[in-house]
């Protein structure tokens, strides 16, 4: 059972005494604290990460706890400091680097896809890149088209990068610990819509029970967030919550949804998706990245190319349309995926012929 369901079950009752409910931001922060405490090779770099603890509160308290040698504010030089992190990683450090918004990747893509992603391969396995690139993704709060993208597929497409997207605090902590301990570069994409910050709206359900002690959630393994029989809804990050809301609605109509939370898109856990669709025969994928060449297409292809699966309905996808993200709240909300649109698609899938 996934942590999301744990929350649903405990949400209504008084939490058991040992339950600690943390936001995703605090869960990420705790993971870094714990990894830094147990491994002196872990260092943190990024804009505004030291003195103020990160714009997304991911690095709060690290400067005080571990000092300025291991926790550094950087200039606005992403290409430089991400490249430098790859150099650190090549000789034994484990840098955790924050790229404030994934949208800024344009100024530093070379350091990521040409350098970090290819170190191991080009060196024939001699040199590794145990770096985590943490970055915020997602819109929905009218921050305009250079501060609201997810760009999941952009990273998923590039061989050599692991790409992780948590939907809730429990997973966030365990996935980040795994990412820091991993010997390969991991792009860790946390969605602003589930981060749990005071100044941005958040899905309350994303704050979950988080054990105090360190633990790992494996990279590359999807979660079955809810079991069901009629249709499989596949999401990641914020859209897992759209899927939960849609499933709640559809349940009232007698439609039983199985929900898959991808958690990682590289590696992609195709087997968990296939196992689910083998059972339900219907698939709707939902993500908030641009549609074409995207997550939904990859999820659907994973199912369609498996001859052992018999589909009862055409697979469907709900994504952000192939347009830059508009600023105006009416436009942005109008084009973003949401649970109502997902309900409609899932209903169509179930009613098909």
């Amino acid at each position: 059972m996934s942590s999301v369901d744990v929350m649903q079950e405990t949400g209504a009752k008084t939490p058991a005494p040992r339950q600690r409910r943390l936001t995703v931001a605090r869960a990420l922060n705790e993971a870094i604290h714990q990894e830094m405490a147990t491994d002196s090779s872990v260092v943190v770099l990024g804009e505004d990460v030291a003195k103020i603890g990160g714009v997304w509160s991911t690095t709060v308290g690290l400067l005080d706890a571990f000092g300025p040698a291991r926790v550094r504010d950087t200039p606005i030089s992403e290409s430089g400091f991400i490249g430098a992190a790859v150099g650190m990683a090549a000789v034994g450090l484990r840098p955790v680097v924050e790229l404030m918004f994934v949208d800024f990747v344009g100024v530093c893509m070379n350091s990521i896809y040409s350098l970090a992603a290819k170190q191991r391969f080009f060196s024939g396995g001699q040199v590794t890149c145990p770096m985590v690139l943490m970055t915020s993704v997602g819109g929905g709060y009218s921050d305009g088209g250079q501060h609201s993208q997810t760009l999941y597929a952009t990273f998923g497409h590039l061989p050599g990068l692991k790409v992780v997207v948590p939907s809730n605090a429990y997973d966030a902590k365990g996935l980040l610990a795994s990412a820091i301990r991993d010997d390969d570069p991991v792009v860790f994409m946390f969605h602003k819509g589930v981060q749990g910050l005071g100044w941005l709206g958040t899905v309350p359900r994303a704050a979950t029970h988080v054990p105090e002690e360190a633990y790992l959630v494996p990279l590359g393994k999807a979660a079955v967030t809810r079991e069901g029989s009629d249709v499989t809804l596949v999401g990641l990050g914020l859209t897992v919550h759209h899927a939960i809301d849609a499933a709640d609605q559809l349940q009232k109509e007698g439609i039983s949804c199985e929900i898959i939370d991808l958690r990682s898109i590289a590696p992609l856990d195709r087997e968990t998706i296939r196992a689910s669709v083998r059972k339900t025969g219907r698939l709707v994928a939902v993500d908030d990245d641009y549609m074409s060449y995207g997550i939904g297409g990859e999820v659907i292809a994973s199912v369609c190319e498996d001859a052992s699966i018999t589909l009862k309905a055409t697979p469907r996808r709900l994504s952000f349309p192939d347009i830059p993200i508009p600023f105006s709240p009416v436009l942005e909300q109008g084009v973003l995926p949401n649970s109502e649109k997902l309900v409609a698609l899932a209903r169509q899938a179930v009613l098909e012929k």
Binding site: E47, D48, K51, I52, V55, D73, T74, P75, I76, S77, S79, G80, D103, F104, G106, V107, G140, Y141, S142, D143, G144, G145, Q146, H147, G198, W199, L200, G201, P321, D322, I323, P324, P326, F327, S328, P329, V330, L331, G334, V335
Partner: protein, 333 residues
């Protein structure tokens, strides 16, 4: 205003600078108030008539007016995520600008861009939310003017934080190499979000970096409209004459947070307390009066600025939101 005509028309340039500063300030103080509508008691950036991030330029107005006083509509300007003062000084349509900030269909970009993406092609103004992004396009627009046989120039505004982007260095080398008619204006407000200049930049003055590209580097202290006007005038004349680019760093002050809602705890208390005394509009007003201008003359300019700001805001408020199709209408031509 026609090309070739100074932006101040018949108004003496000092009074024009004063009025433009007040206009920007009045517009922004309204934006700041309205920004909190719908965001109380719980502050949520997504809510209210002006959602999203909001970066105000209050305190930095001298940089915009001292430079733009020398520019024509055909001169090309790129600004940053903190664009309002430059937009106002460059002559961007105030009503359409306010409407864009509200996300309305009457906005400069029909609500597609928002406050970090103000484009007014009529006066060759644009800005961007990516740090350092406007520097190279300014070099390109400057070269285009030369290739097309115009004596127009380009000006790229940036924060001091932007000088640590690779783009800055690539663009400066290009500009110097090509002798582009471009002026680089660095607004040094001492901070890039929470990180102060001393902790982000290897040299105290970015003017020193000009030497690396063999171009003049000028530092103007004091956030002083007259001094900025003088330094920018020289650089822009040089560019127009075909003598190449200049880099100018301007000391300025960010009176507000990085964005509205920023509690600014990273700035020392004494520094924050001093800010009110550093308000450049008050200082410039006193100087103008000391130089013989009547208070009533300035009051009249204030009143006009207030009228224009009110007009722009009510235009924005009363405009409609765009229809959903608008989001799909401008990806390709």
């Amino acid at each position: 205003m026609q090309p070739g005509q100074a932006p101040h028309g018949n108004l003496h340039h000092r009074l024009w600078m004063y009025e433009a500063m007040v206009k920007s300030r009045e517009l922004e103080s309204r934006i700041k108030t309205i920004y909190f509508e719908g965001k109380t008691p719980v502050f949520n950036m997504a809510k209210g008539p002006i959602p999203g991030e909001m970066h105000l330029s209050m305190g930095q107005e001298p940089c915009a007016v001292g430079v733009c006083a020398h520019l024509r509509p055909t001169d090309f300007v790129t600004a940053t995520h903190r664009p309002h003062h430059v937009a106002v000084a460059k002559g961007v349509d105030l009503r359409k600008m306010a409407a864009e900030i509200f996300g309305k269909k009457t906005g400069l970009s029909r609500g597609l861009g928002g406050h970090m993406h103000l484009f007014d092609a009529a006066v060759n103004f644009s800005c961007s939310g990516i740090i350092g992004e406007g520097i190279a396009p300014a070099v390109g627009a400057a070269m285009a003017a030369r290739i097309q046989g115009r004596d127009d120039v380009a000006v790229s505004f940036m924060g001091e934080g932007a000088t640590n982007q690779g783009q800055f260095h690539e663009a400066l080398n290009l500009a110097a190499l090509w002798k582009a008619p471009v002026v680089f204006i660095i607004e040094d407000n001492a901070y890039g979000i929470s990180v102060c200049k001393a902790e982000s930049t290897s040299v105290a003055s970015n003017a020193d970096r000009a030497a690396a590209y063999g171009i003049p580097g000028v530092f103007v202290p004091g956030n002083d409209p007259d001094a900025i006007h003088a330094a920018a005038g020289e650089a822009i004349a040089r560019a127009r004459a075909g003598d190449g680019p200049t880099l100018i760093e301007l000391e300025t002050h960010r009176l507000e947070g990085h964005f509205v809602g920023d509690t600014v705890e990273y700035r020392p208390v004494e520094e924050r307390e001093r800010l009110a005394e550093l308000d450049p509009i008050q200082l410039f007003r006193s100087r103008l009066i000391g130089d013989g201008h009547e208070a009533s003359e300035l009051d009249a300019l204030d009143a006009e600025a207030v009228r224009l700001a009110d007009d722009a805001i009510s235009f924005a408020r009363n405009s409609e939101y765009p229809a959903l199709e608008e989001a799909f209408a401008h990806v390709f031509g």
